[in-house]
């Protein structure tokens, strides 16, 4: 398969994740959409690394995956904290900072 095929697949995946982030009302649902988008980026990085026969691109992916895990752990901790304070998971209800 040419590089085009992999990049197109990643683009479709990214758009689906973007759609999820835009339309979900639940904060956990929004996080899942972000996961899909990050995943698409990882596919792009690995595909470019393979088609350029360059190992460094794969190293980059090996860094982005753990960073994503840290991001999810922190994001969910914040979600749980918001649940304790506001008893809601709907992103629209989280308007404490509104003036």
């Amino acid at each position: 398969m040419p590089l085009h095929a992999y990049l197109t697949l990643a683009a479709i995946l990214f758009s689906i994740g973007f759609f999820g982030v835009m339309t979900r009302r639940n904060t956990i649902g929004i996080l899942l959409g972000i996961e899909l988008m990050l995943n698409a980026v990882n596919i792009n990085l690995v595909a470019f690394a393979r088609f350029n026969a360059d190992i460094v691109g794969m190293i980059f992916t090996a860094f982005t995956i753990p960073i994503t895990v840290a991001e999810v752990a922190l994001g969910l901790a914040i979600v749980i904290l918001m649940f304790r304070m506001r008893r809601t998971a709907i992103a629209d209800h989280l308007d404490i900072l509104k003036g």
Partner: protein
């Protein structure tokens, strides 16, 4: 059709189907399970791209770690509220239009781009071995920084989610 083409199309259908289920399913728990499937399919794509080490990392950290954390969060939050969390979507038309526009823009750019069709031969015998070597020599500083970041991130998460006293 060669094996590579069949594998790619199979994985692509699996990946896009499960990703669509993630953003469209009403039940949040099912959504997470679909996410696990799509992350596993991504590991398959990594295998098709001959990145065995990254496929393993993807399975261990994403499909293993992330999905477990999210399931934990759902269980904890449902216990806090005392009811099943269902999730609804809003502004679906706007979402479709914007995501579609983004996709079209990227695809148009891709069509005009000059990209390699054939994969070159990787000059090394064992990619995983070289990855490990480079990670421990050339990229050792970012590697250690990553360890610090993970530690700080997990400590911060623990601090946020600690039980109320």
């Amino acid at each position: 059709m060669t094996l590579e083409v069949v594998t790619f199309w199979g994985l692509a259908v699996l990946l896009i189907g499960s990703a669509l289920s993630v953003v469209l399913t009403k039940n949040l728990f099912h959504s997470v399970l679909w996410l696990a499937l799509s992350l596993t399919a991504t590991a398959g794509i990594f295998l098709a791209l001959e990145a065995e080490f990254l496929a393993a990392v993807q399975l261990l950290l994403y499909a293993g770690g992330v999905v477990t954390i999210v399931v934990f969060a759902i269980v904890v939050t449902e216990r806090l509220v005392g009811e099943r969390i269902t999730q609804t979507s809003r502004h679906i038309v706007t979402g479709v239009v914007l995501a579609g526009a983004l996709l079209l823009a990227v695809l148009r750019f891709l069509r005009g781009a000059d990209l390699p069709v054939e994969r070159p031969v990787i000059g090394v015998e064992d990619v995983t071995r070289v990855l490990g070597k480079v990670l421990m020599t050339e990229f050792v500083l970012p590697f250690e920084l990553l360890a610090v970041l993970l530690l700080v991130g997990l400590l911060g998460a623990l601090y946020f989610a600690r039980p109320e006293d």
